[in-house]
């Protein structure tokens, strides 16, 4: 089977995982998770250089930090299907005594997680710290991070964005999930942020758009290009244009499914649009 087809099958299975996880506990955040399924699949399978197994320090491998921790379902699914832990454990999402907390945490020792996130706006600073440690350690691997677009309303981001360019943290690729939605509605309604590209450029970053943020080929090509932009004295920002709820027609183009789980009937309908490929957990 051609590689792209394999990745497409994996993406479909990840969507099923997300939907089944949030349905089971009638909570969680399917919208943003679905919108970033292709990004996570591309990142963990085609982009990042990863070591076998997991250790916190991650020396000699690329690192990833999820800042918008509420899209934990897609993160957990892709980590499990990349071998960090058993896919059966996805069954425990948000349940008592689980390592798969509502928002990701290091507290329960889940392999693949290096920082707690959920309270928004903190991940970029952490990623910059980890990238700085890599420089001190003469480690040439990269640090990746993902942030919601609404999350950019948190002021700490702009402290971090200012710092990274001023201090030439050029071994970092920060991706912004530009789905234009947040809990209370469209970002342009809640708090219009103007041109995010212009803002990052004004703060001294290299900026790259991936217009088709739900197209695996476009994401892989875009992130590979972003890699070539590192090491030149500037941090790199990827603007990933996604559709919230992608892959489930009635969840797309709306903020309604930001933090709402499907009921039995809706789940059935959503799964029918994403037939089983690699096997459900």
């Amino acid at each position: 089977m051609p590689r792209l087809e394999e990745l497409q099958d994996l993406t479909t299975q990840v969507r099923r995982d997300i939907l089944r996880m949030v349905h089971k506990v009638n909570s969680g955040h399917p919208g943003g998770s679905l919108g970033c399924a292709e990004f996570f699949v591309a990142l963990y399978n085609e982009i990042m250089e990863l070591n076998e197994g997991f250790d916190m320090d991650g020396k000699g491998e690329d690192l990833f930090f999820l800042s918008n921790g509420h899209i934990s379902p897609v993160f957990y699914s892709v980590l499990a299907r990349s071998g960090y832990f058993s896919v059966d454990e996805l069954n425990t999402f948000r349940l008592i005594n689980s390592r798969l907390q509502g928002h990701p945490t290091t507290h329960e020792g889940l392999p693949g997680i290096r920082i707690a996130s959920g309270s928004l706006g903190q991940g970029l600073s952490v990623a910059i710290g980890a990238a700085t440690a890599k420089k001190l350690n003469k480690d040439s691997n990269l640090v990746y991070s993902l942030h919601g677009d609404g999350e950019l309303q948190e002021g700490q981001n702009w402290e971090a964005i200012m710092y990274a360019s001023a201090k030439k943290v050029d071994n970092i690729i920060a991706t912004i999930d530009l789905n234009g939605q947040q809990i209370d509605g469209a970002t342009d309604t809640v708090l219009p942020m103007g041109s995010i590209r212009a803002k990052f450029e004004a703060f001294g970053w290299e900026v790259l758009d991936i217009e088709e943020g739900n197209n695996l080929e476009a994401i892989i090509a875009g992130l590979k290009k972003a890699k070539t932009m590192t090491g030149n004295g500037k941090p790199v920002c990827v603007l990933l244009h996604t559709v919230m709820g992608n892959g489930v027609d009635f969840m797309m183009h709306t903020h309604a499914w930001h933090g709402k789980a499907p009921n039995d009937e809706q789940l059935e309908k959503a799964l029918a649009q994403n037939p089983e490929t690699l096997g459900d957990y």
Binding site: M56, D57, G58, K59, L63, F65, T105, T106, H107, R114, I115, A116, S117, G118, S119, Q122, G123, L124, S125, V126, A127, I128, G129, A130, A131, T132, A133, K134, L136, N137, D139, G155, Q156, E159, A160, M162, Y163, A166, K167
Partner: protein, 317 residues
């Protein structure tokens, strides 16, 4: 009663600076971050000797805490430096999520704590930081009493794996503990032996407690002074064993009595050995501008306040 001699007044922040300088020479993983207060935190010498291991963050404390958390991933031991107010209240959620809940090996080093910051006034005089930090699960909270102890504590926390809050101050105060002391996190120090009252003090109030003990001795009252430099984890046994002998206790701290050392001691005693207790500290108030001495006097944070509290608590036995 054992006497202590002031080896020459010095500020606890300079003890931190000296400790950090020594760590720079002995531990290659130690890195330092500062939010535009290098001189105030006495970080100059470390920076001079280790420019590649110092990060000037600018006036952006939230970012500093996050970067510190990230630096631990890769084995660094970050020491952050700013005023106590900006090390805690301003960045509480960043510490809570990115450092404490994530169990990152960050040392949050906080100067200018309490009213002895002086003339800058209440915006900068945090009296709530011990409470804020001790409530965070897994956070170690240390408030050393003089230059020598602050230097020793700074060096000791680098060898401890996990988040630590280290609190110190601005004014030059008596330097009376041993130069070459070994600092043990969580271990209370018996400064004087006594039979009538236990005085448990932390930070700048320890020297005041020793002066109070001398005054009390002249009045025929025998005070046992215990230096609690580690508010969390608290040395419960040292406190319980002392009050079993003395039957009453006074706690003294440059902090709000709501949430400070005194409340931690009260919890230990209430559940183990209920004992009459009086609290020396600020009482649900902000500070104000003034000299450190004036403020210590106005807010009841000196040896006189401790003596008064002892007289009161002994009557309650």
């Amino acid at each position: 009663m054992k006497k202590y001699i002031d080896q020459g007044k010095n500020d606890t922040r300079s003890g931190f600076g000296a400790g950090l300088t020594e760590l720079g020479r002995t531990n290659p993983n130690v890195v330092a971050l500062c939010a535009d207060l290098i001189g105030s935190l006495k970080m100059d010498q470390f920076i001079k000797e280790n420019p590649e291991r110092f990060f000037q963050i600018g006036i952006a404390e939230a970012n500093m805490m996050g970067i510190a958390a990230g630096l631990t991933i890769g084995g660094k031991i970050p020491f952050t430096g700013t005023f106590a107010n900006f090390s805690t209240g301003r960045v509480y959620d960043q510490i809570r999520q990115s450092i404490a809940y994530s169990n990152k090996n960050v040392k949050i080093c906080a100067s200018h704590a309490g009213v002895t910051l002086g003339e800058d006034g209440a915006t900068h005089q945090i009296l709530e930081d011990l409470g804020l930090m001790k409530m965070l699960p897994g956070m170690v909270v240390i408030n050393p009493c003089d230059y020598n102890q602050t230097k020793a504590a700074t060096i000791a926390i680098a060898d401890y794996e996990g988040p630590v809050y280290l609190r110190f101050g601005r004014p030059k105060v008596a330097n009376f503990t041993a130069v070459d002391q070994k600092f043990e996190i969580g271990k209370a120090l018996h400064l004087t032996e006594g039979t009538d009252v236990t005085i448990v003090a932390t930070g700048h109030l320890v020297w005041e407690a020793l002066i109070a003990a001398e005054t009390l001795e002249s009045q025929g009252i025998s005070a046992e002074v215990i230096n609690i430099h580690t508010i969390k984890p608290l040395d419960a046994n040292a406190i319980i064993n002392s009050v079993k002998k003395t039957g009453c206790i006074v706690t003294a701290e440059e902090h709000n009595i709501l949430g400070g050392l005194g409340e931690s001691v009260a919890r230990v005693l209430a559940t183990n050995h209920p004992t009459p207790q009086e609290f020396v500290g600020t009482n649900d108030t902000f500070g104000e501008s003034g000299t450190p001495e004036e403020l210590m006097d106005k807010y009841g944070l000196n040896n006189k306040a401790i003596v008064n509290a002892v007289v009161k608590v002994i009557k309650r036995k």
